[in-house]
């Protein structure tokens, strides 16, 4: 008799989602100037969760003005006082983390296991870490008394809505900037709940402004003449557009863009752990991760053994209700994203790669894509070059370390890479040659507020996290 797990859903009663939300400007929730709204849905059920005000250019202007007004006092506060605000925020996030985890799972579609064990702890930790920097900036290596830039315009993606907010807001506030942040149109809710956390923490009005909206609002924010700093996480195409927009201005720019991370497995790797790392690398958050290990480079001599193990492991993945505590794979964030993943996977097949998925029943409503493996992939295949941003792994082989490095680097991206071998000197030798901003060895997808994150090449520039992450928000 098989050991079937009964449903173990996390209660959604813990989160109270209002039927509608406004923009958060100058400490108040307000309607959009043109009264426009949009709906946000739960990707696992297509249920409408709430109706949210849609920011336009006029609202952007209002928010930037509020942030500019707040900047004078906020930046003049002693660092130790700013620190205490951020510590308060960190603590409130910890207190409300279960509620926020459920909310994030509802709005984003990712499993509760991830929001509960990864997203939310990292969010709180990020605020906690940067809180501590607020009164220690003179020790950060950017001069004795580094100054903030002013108003930061920040545009974040839908894959880690609250975590990306934390990565943007925590360092900005710690250094004395004020912010206008635009969450993604498919995942606005956690940012709006964050506005409420700012209220609970007693944060002065205008220091944080949240503008739910679409790309037009993001474009207006980036282009606004009174914004001093632009921080964007999202696609490389939009990143390039933003780089053009800010050209010729004095705006400081950081971009965290796409990736096509290589996960390199040598023949002396700890195989069972490598399999876990590969699974984590590409199926964490349904592969909707810019630093995903979406290209598996396996040494040809162990390819069969590794793929057998990998397939066996994939067969145990549990796909379904994201609120179920035993779900490993949740929903794809939106119909658009699902269409893109589907199209690229079909192209992979059309170009001759061999497609494999475990037997897997997909729910009838919502946006779903089964974990998928492509073998017989070469550098020439589209699925080896384009970022799929979904649960699709392309498997390539190599014969020697040189070849592994050459293939790993043969991409316009340069965000992440993984190395699996028991030989320490090989790890370091390969890491030295990789053109990627984050290299994990014998692990993958590890994040920590103390550790800088960011890309080489078309994966963007600037670093978020760690001491390095302060630089983006200081006038240095």
């Amino acid at each position: 008799m098989a050991f079937e797990y009964a449903p173990a859903p996390e209660s959604r009663a813990i989160v109270d989602i209002a039927p509608s939300y406004g923009l958060f400007i100058d400490g108040e929730f307000t309607e959009a100037a043109d009264g426009k709204v949009f709906k946000t849905v739960s990707p696992s059920t297509e249920e409408v969760l709430s109706e949210v005000a849609r920011a336009g250019a006029e609202d952007v202007d209002r928010a930037v003005k509020a942030a500019r007004k707040a900047f004078e006092k906020w930046s003049a506060l002693p660092g130790s006082e700013r620190a205490k605000y951020l510590f308060r925020i960190a603590r409130i996030i910890q207190e409300r983390s279960r509620e926020l985890a459920v909310l994030e799972t509802l709005d984003n579609g990712k499993p509760i296991k991830e929001t509960r064990d990864a997203d939310l702890p990292l969010v709180a930790a990020h605020f906690f870490y940067y809180a501590g920097w607020a009164d220690k900036l003179g020790h950060a290596g950017f001069g004795a008394d580094p100054r903030p830039l002013g108003v930061a315009g920040q545009v974040i993606p839908w894959n880690f809505p609250l975590l990306m907010l934390a990565w943007k807001i925590a360092p900005a506030l710690a250094t004395g900037n004020t912010v206008v942040l635009k969450p993604a149109e498919t995942t606005p809710l956690s940012a709006l709940f964050f506005a409420d956390i700012c209220r609970q923490a007693g944060l002065p009005k205008g220091v944080v402004n949240i503008l739910p909206g679409y790309g037009d609002a993001g474009a207006a924010l980036v282009a606004h003449p009174d914004v001093n700093k632009v921080a964007f996480t999202g696609s490389t195409a939009v990143g390039k557009e933003i780089a053009r927009t800010v050209a010729g201005t004095r705006k400081k720019l950081t971009l965290e863009l796409g990736g096509k991370g290589a996960n390199i497995v040598f023949d002396d790797a700890p195989i069972d752990q490598a399999v876990e790392g590969i699974v984590n690398g590409i199926f964490f958050n349904q592969g909707q991760v810019c630093c995903a290990g979406s290209r598996l480079l396996v040494q040809e001599s162990i390819q069969d053994e590794l793929l057998d193990s990998l397939k066996r492991r994939l067969s145990t993945l549990r796909l379904g209700d994201p609120l179920d505590k035993n779900t490993d794979i949740g929903a794809i964030n939106s119909a658009e994203q699902l269409a893109r993943i589907t199209a690229l996977a079909e192209q992979g097949e059309a170009e001759g790669a061999e497609r494999w998925s475990p037997a897997c029943e997909l729910p009838e409503s919502g946006y779903w894509f089964a974990p998928t493996l492509f073998t017989n992939v070469t550098q020439a295949h589209t699925i080896a070059r384009d970022e799929i941003f979904g649960p699709v792994l392309s498997v390539l082989t190599f014969r020697t370390p040189d070849e592994a490095v050459a293939k790993a680097n043969n991409t316009q991206y340069g965000l992440s890479a993984g190395i699996w071998t028991e030989k320490g000197s090989r790890i370091l030798a390969v890491a030295n040659k990789l053109r990627a901003g984050v290299v994990w060895s014998n692990t993958f997808n590890k994040f920590d507020p103390t550790s800088p994150f960011g890309g080489y090449k078309e994966s963007g520039f600037g670093r978020e996290g760690g001491r390095h992450g302060l630089e983006a928000y200081l006038d240095v």
Binding site: F87, R426, L428
Partner: protein
């Protein structure tokens, strides 16, 4: 209500997470600035000092092995707990140091903020004083700070609370454990701090507080072979020299007494004084047997 007889507090030591009386069974009289009796404080013996070192050593593995993030959370929790007992400390500091209520309140506020300041340092000090070293060879080379071990701390004699926290917090922020000798004439805020630490997720033994004659307790600590460092903040010149000589026996790290304005934002010296630097070498090698051709 005003004629109600109040309940006095029995002040006790704080050792290994527990509140023992002195092994000596003795106490000494603590008075306010005007000479009025406040309480009897335990008069610690060398055996109390020995027990405190054992407790501190036992706690060292867990505390130094905790993540820096975890230590930061714990230190911040101390600030949260203190904030809730502010009134008590304002009274104790006012009595101990002969300050007005307003001045004592300013002292306590600064003390709480000092905990917050050090709570933020736990996961940053390594980033400020450690780092990669570009050695001329195929080696990865990284220097990181590590706590030195058990630190004996002679708390400042005058600043019984702000001064105390200003010397204790940097010692434990980086993962050391501490045996603290409270201000001799004003030990009560230190003994009460023990009660706060005990309810702040600080593991027992990380901070141990002894009251009594500073010179009497400090001598066995300075000579103790299982103490790694000593902060002489609360010693006068003659005692400091004597203790430094005793400390040389096992080459303790010694922080000499110096004039400090405890209201000033500190630097990182009180942390680095009790940190070792460990440098790890590891070969990077080349990609293939014939050297890198890539």
């Amino acid at each position: 209500m005003s004629d109600r007889l109040s309940v006095f507090k029995t002040y006790k030591l704080y050792v290994g997470g527990k509140f023992p009386r002195s092994e000596s069974g003795r106490v000494y009289e603590v008075t306010d600035a005007k000479g009025n009796w406040l309480a009897n404080a335990p008069l610690s013996s060398r055996k109390d000092a020995r027990d405190a070192v054992v407790a501190a050593r036992k706690a060292f593995g867990g505390w130094s092995g905790a993540t820096a993030y975890n230590r930061g959370q714990v230190l911040y929790r101390v600030a949260e707990m203190l904030e809730g007992r502010k009134e008590q400390f304002v009274r104790e500091v006012a009595e101990a140091e002969g300050l007005s209520k307003a001045k004592a309140a300013a002292v306590v506020d600064a003390t709480i903020d000092r905990w917050v300041w050090y709570a933020g340092w736990t996961d940053k000090i390594a980033q400020v004083i450690g780092g990669a070293n570009p050695v001329a060879g195929p080696y990865f080379n990284l220097s990181s700070p590590e706590p030195t071990g058990v630190v004996a701390v002679l708390a400042p004699q005058e600043s019984s609370f702000l001064g105390l926290v200003s010397v204790v917090a940097p010692v434990i922020a980086t993962g050391n454990t501490a045996v603290v000798i409270a201000s001799e004439k004003a030990p009560l805020p230190a003994l009460s701090l023990g009660e706060v630490l005990a309810t702040s997720d600080v593991p027992g033994g990380v901070v141990n507080v002894l009251s009594g004659r500073t010179a009497e307790i400090a001598a066995p600590l300075a000579a103790h072979q299982d103490v790694n460092a000593i902060d002489l903040a609360g010693a006068d010149e003659a005692l400091a020299k004597e203790l430094e000589i005793a400390a040389a026996d096992n080459l303790k790290r010694v922080l000499r007494p110096q004039a400090v304005d405890y209201f000033e934002t500190p630097g990182i010296e009180r942390m680095t004084a009790f940190l070792e630097t460990k440098t790890v070498w590891h070969p990077t090698g080349s990609l293939g047997a014939s050297g890198s051709s890539y």
